[in-house]
């Protein structure tokens, strides 16, 4: 079988770099181009030193982009949609890692991304890129928009309870702890080390736009509230979702095990993590650094019946580059786990 020819547009950032790392280690893939206007002509290892000795690929300009089998778009939000028509000519399949084509509802897009959608006509052609939710659609898709990192973990954590009708509407509180690489590679005062180190920063107590994807994928009614907050903590990679769910009827621990095993029992990238011994008894993001896993756990408050759902991922892998490759594998009939077998480190 010939190798799948892939190109990454906007490859100098953290997402582009992670994609490069995964694709260079993928048995069925060839990376033909990695574009960057800023670093065109320079070796990719300049921006991605972890790839030293792995590749002598150089960044190229977008203007010299040649046709290939699949195009990964890692451009800033808004840019992708504006340039999509020209980019779409270069490859039969496109996987967009920006937020431009995630939301089906253009009104939601305008509310959360501060302006009308630049290419609303295209929205219907994209499939929302969480394989555990839309596997068959992704298999047949030409265009996929991979989910946001916070959204990926929140949706995977909450979906089984919502799908089983076990959730009191409007009462869920999602409190995500995020890391600095989520902000991308562009420095700011807020990410300046003396300011960023050691913080527990309430950077989005309300108004975080990833909640729009939750609303869409959990099927919330338009007027059903969703309570979402994000706190930045002092690590570079990884995120943990703590979702407080108030069940529609009293649940026991075994109900949760059955619900989650029924939903994810055969998923290669989801592990149910809730143990009574050992040090890491609930999902722990740092154990997932570099892996495509989403670990999910839960606990029930014996006094109040509140269900606490915990979901951890590496925001750059399952929350971004890894999930994009997982979708690519499905779209090209390659084993879904190809190139995504790294199992994580410990201690780390």
């Amino acid at each position: 079988m010939d190798r799948i020819r892939t190109a990454i547009v906007g490859a100098s950032g953290y997402t582009g770099g992670e994609l490069l790392r995964i694709l260079l280690g993928h048995p069925s893939v060839e990376v033909t181009q990695a574009t960057s206007e800023r670093l065109a002509g320079k070796p990719v290892i300049l921006a991605h030193p972890n790839l030293r000795g792995r590749t002598d690929l150089r960044f190229t300009s977008l203007s010299s982009l040649a046709p290939c089998d699949v195009l990964f778009l890692c451009l800033p939000h808004g840019t992708t949609a504006r340039q999509f028509d020209t980019l779409a000519q270069q490859a039969p399949r496109i996987i967009d890692l920006s937020a431009d084509f995630r939301l089906k509802d253009t009104v939601a897009y305008e509310k959360w991304y501060g302006g009308p959608h630049p290419a609303p006509g295209r929205l219907g052609e994209f499939v929302y890129g969480i394989p555990e939710l839309h596997r068959e659609e992704i298999r047949r898709a030409r265009y996929v928009a991979t989910a946001g990192c916070n959204a990926t973990a929140s949706i995977l954590g909450l979906r089984p309870l919502y799908a089983a009708g076990l959730v009191q509407p409007g009462r869920t509180v999602v409190d995500v702890k995020v890391s600095s690489s989520e902000g991308g590679g562009v420095p700011s005062t807020a990410s300046h080390h003396p300011e960023r180190a050691g913080v527990i920063r309430s950077y989005k107590p309300t108004g975080h736009r990833h909640q729009a994807e939750l609303r869409q994928e959990l099927g919330l009614a338009a007027d059903e509230p969703l309570h979402f907050s994000a706190t930045a903590v002092d690590i570079v990679r990884g995120l943990l979702v703590t979702a407080h769910v108030f069940p529609s009827r009293p649940l026991q621990e075994i109900d949760l095990w059955k619900t989650y095993r029924a939903a994810y029992g055969t998923e290669p990238f989801i592990r149910l993590v809730k143990t009574k011994d050992g040090v890491h008894r609930y999902p722990e993001p740092k154990l997932l650094w570099g892996t495509n896993y989403c670990d999910i756990g839960f606990d029930i408050d014996r006094d109040t019946g509140r269900v606490v759902v915990l979901a951890a991922i590496d925001n750059l892998v399952k929350g971004s580059g890894g999930q994009a490759v997982q979708c690519m594998n499905l779209m090209h009939g390659v084993p879904e786990t190809a190139g995504l077998e790294f199992t994580g480190l410990h201690p780390v």
């Binding site: 621990e253 075994i254 095990w257 095993r261 149910l272 809730k274 009574k276 011994d277």
Partner: protein, 57 residues
């Protein structure tokens, strides 16, 4: 063939050795709970009491 026993805590299948005896302790692979074999016929498993290690924080 007797049905495969399931863990009382997480409902996962628990694979017992052929030599299992009553009151033997086995660990559930899925949720790592310690289980006690209460009887063999019918096969009954129960969560064995575990000393709760206080995490201190």
């Amino acid at each position: 063939m007797s049905t495969v026993p399931v863990c009382p805590v997480c409902d996962a299948e628990v694979h017992l050795q052929g030599t299992t005896i009553v009151s033997e302790l086995v660990v559930c692979d899925s949720c790592s709970c310690m289980l006690e074999v209460r009887s063999l016929d019918p096969l009954q498993l129960a969560e064995a009491p575990q000393e709760q290690e206080d995490w201190g924080e």
